[in-house]
Each structure stands twice: as C-alpha cells, then as structure tokens.
Symmetry: C2
Subunit: 218 residues, 2 copies
C-alpha cells in the first residue's frame, strides 16, 4: 500500500489506469516511472500467442499460450480486451484484474485505442476506467524518436508514422490528455491524474456508513 494514498476510514475499489499514445511519444518511460514511484499500482500482464523472446519471463512480461488456448479463453469471455496484431493474438485476462480492483489495487494498462474502446464499453469495467492519452510535442520530435529507435528502412518508418497518425486520431476518446515534452513533468502530471482519481467519491467503499457514523445516525 502506498501510505500517501491510504484512506483508513473506508475501503476503495481500485481503478483501471490506461495509458495510450502513438509509439515514440514516451509512454513506456512514463509507465516505468509510475510503477517505480507508486506502490499501489501494478502492471496488467497480457496473454499472447507470439513466441517468447530472449530475456522475457513467463508471467511477468506475458503469459505465453498457444492458439488453441487463446481461442478457448476468447470463447469463454475470459479477456477484458483482445486484439490481433501482426499475426499474433494479445489479450488481457479478466480475473486477475478484477481481483486487484477488489483489493483496492490500481492496474496500469499500456494498450492502444482499440483495447481502450473494449474496456470502456465493458459492462463491468467501464466505471473503473481512467484513460490518459500521451501526445508528442511535435511531428519532428515524433519522427526523430521513431527513427532513433532502430536503423529501419524508410518504408518501415513511414508505416510507423501512419500508425501513429491513426492512433492519435482517437485522442478525444480519452478522459485526460498530456503533451510529453519533459519526462519528469509528464510523470508528475500523470501521477496527479492517478492520485486525483483515487479520491473520487464513486470509488470509495463504505462511505455511506462512515458519514452516517459522523452524523451520529445509525
């Protein structure tokens, strides 16, 4: 528990904290910093059918499953959101997220607009959702970050820019928006959004009884 955010008087339901952005806008760095600084936030671990890469750990980076298992999980509505990207399936299992939320732990999601739409329209999870979109400060900055990632052919970079443009076209579907010019400032802003949302009246559990007690009413 993050002592700073502990409210001993009543419980709190955790929230689903979604960060989306075009790749190259700094989302991964911001996520890592948030997880490092905030003791009450955990990362959602996705399930995927893509092969494990060197250095990845089962259950930490991903849950690696075969196509059959993924199909069975999809049919059983075990995913909060799932997508098919570059020939592989990715999905977020529902059960561990629900367990975390009930325990008052907040869950960080690093997903795109398609995943966010699935979460936002989920009949059980929509009220828990807090969505933040991170924008780059300029096209030049975005291009330079996409180029510096690897020495990729121009065509690949152009494809990434087109994907970034498509992602950014969905900015209005997010409750909050951040322009990531300075990483420390952006982390502070995202942390304020998270901390503020933790104080939402609708997330507190047992508040009615607490206030009745204050008022001297049984």
């Amino acid at each position: 528990m993050n002592k700073k955010n502990a409210v001993p008087y009543f419980g709190r339901r955790g929230l689903i904290f979604v960060l989306s952005s075009p790749s190259g806008a700094g989302k991964t760095t911001i996520s890592r910093e948030l997880l490092r600084l905030d003791d009450n936030l955990v990362m959602s671990v996705s399930t995927t059918t893509r092969p494990k890469r060197a250095g990845e750990t089962e259950g930490v980076d991903y849950n690696f499953v075969d196509d059959k298992t993924f199909e069975r999980m999809t049919a059983g509505a075990e995913f909060l959101e799932h997508a098919h990207v570059f020939g592989y399936h990715y999905g977020t299992p529902r059960a561990p997220v629900e367990t975390a939320l009930q325990a008052g732990t907040d869950v960080l999601f690093d997903i795109d607009w398609q995943g966010t739409q699935q979460l936002a329209t989920d009949e059980n999870m929509g009220v828990d959702l807090v969505s933040v979109f991170i924008l780059p400060p300029s096209t030049e900055e975005l291009e330079s970050r996409l180029n510096s990632r690897a020495r990729d052919p121009d065509e690949v970079v152009r494809e990434r820019m087109a994907k970034a443009s498509g992602e950014m076209s969905h900015f209005l579907e997010y409750a909050y928006i951040i322009v990531n010019e300075d990483i420390d400032q952006s982390v502070a802003r995202v942390q304020a959004i998270l901390d503020g949302e933790r104080s939402r009246t609708s997330r507190q559990v047992g508040l009615h009884d607490f206030v009745q007690g204050l008022r001297g009413v049984d």
Copy 2:
C-alpha cells in the same frame, strides 16, 4: 501562470473548484494553503448584504452592497449562486468568474451544498465544475474543533453540529471526497485533484488543430 501547469501547445479553459465541508473540518486552512501554493488559482469574491466587519476589505473579502442592489442583481441573473443565511444575502457574481475561466484561470469556491447545487445545475457552468467534499476524521474531532472555535453556549454548539450533519448528508453530490486527518496530506490530495482535472481533454481549447498538425493533416 503556474509554470508547472502551463501547456504551451493549446489553451485551456479554467475550472470552477468547489470545496465544501461542515464547518470545523479544516476547509478554510486547506483553501488558504492551496491559494498560497498554486499561482493559477484565485478565490471567488462573493457579494453580500451583511455589514462589513472590522478588518474586512471591500472587493477582497466581499463586495458589500445594500438589499436593493442585491435584489436588482438577482433579478438580472447576475449571480451564479446565491443564498440567504442568518438574515443576510450572499451571492457569487457571474461575470468575473466567466472572465477568469476564459483566461484559463481556475476559480476556488468555498460554498455549501446549496451553492454547489446551483453551480452544478447552471446551464453554462456545470461542465467547468469540479467539486470536493472534505470530511472530518471523526465526530469527536469535529466536536472538539467546533468547541475550540469560541466559548459558545452548548446550544450554539448543538446547532452547529446539526448544521454539520445536514451538510455532510450531501456528500454523494460531490465528485471527490477527502478525509482531513492530516492537513499537509489533505492539501496534497486536493492539489492532485486540481492538477489532474487540469489535464482533462474536455478543458483543452485548440486540441483538435494541434493533433491534426501532429498528424500532418490540414
């Protein structure tokens, strides 16, 4: 301008930041600290028909007017919210608040649940409203704060407790809730709510054009 919260890429409409609480919960101290720490927040100055007290300054503490002027202003819908308390009228003039919001300045309101309801249902101001309710940690604490205020007769204290109970019964009408046990922690929480709300997508002006520019679309 609070540099911390400056977003140079597009404008932002200010927000109406309402703090309500039963008296004795620490709201005045929290308000004073917020105003001291935050350069982009100003206090709304109310208009009242009650006589000026020693030490009060016209235009800073209140705008002091006579009954006739107040009635004329009410009839002209010049108030965002107004109330009749202990024989005197109090009201918030609409024009200076609208000017501040358009300039991107946030306005702090220290009002009760009745004033908050009027703001929340105002056809122009409802979207700008961010409301926070501050609770005391316990009835004992509330009683002791109400008693230590002045050496008032028991009847007056009982009346204040009844008023506090009535105020607290409206907690669910507020978007955010804080239990004020430690003043520094409470100020930090309220500041996080304010900072978080400043990043709301819906408050940004010119965001569409900025994103179109990033996407390379005219």
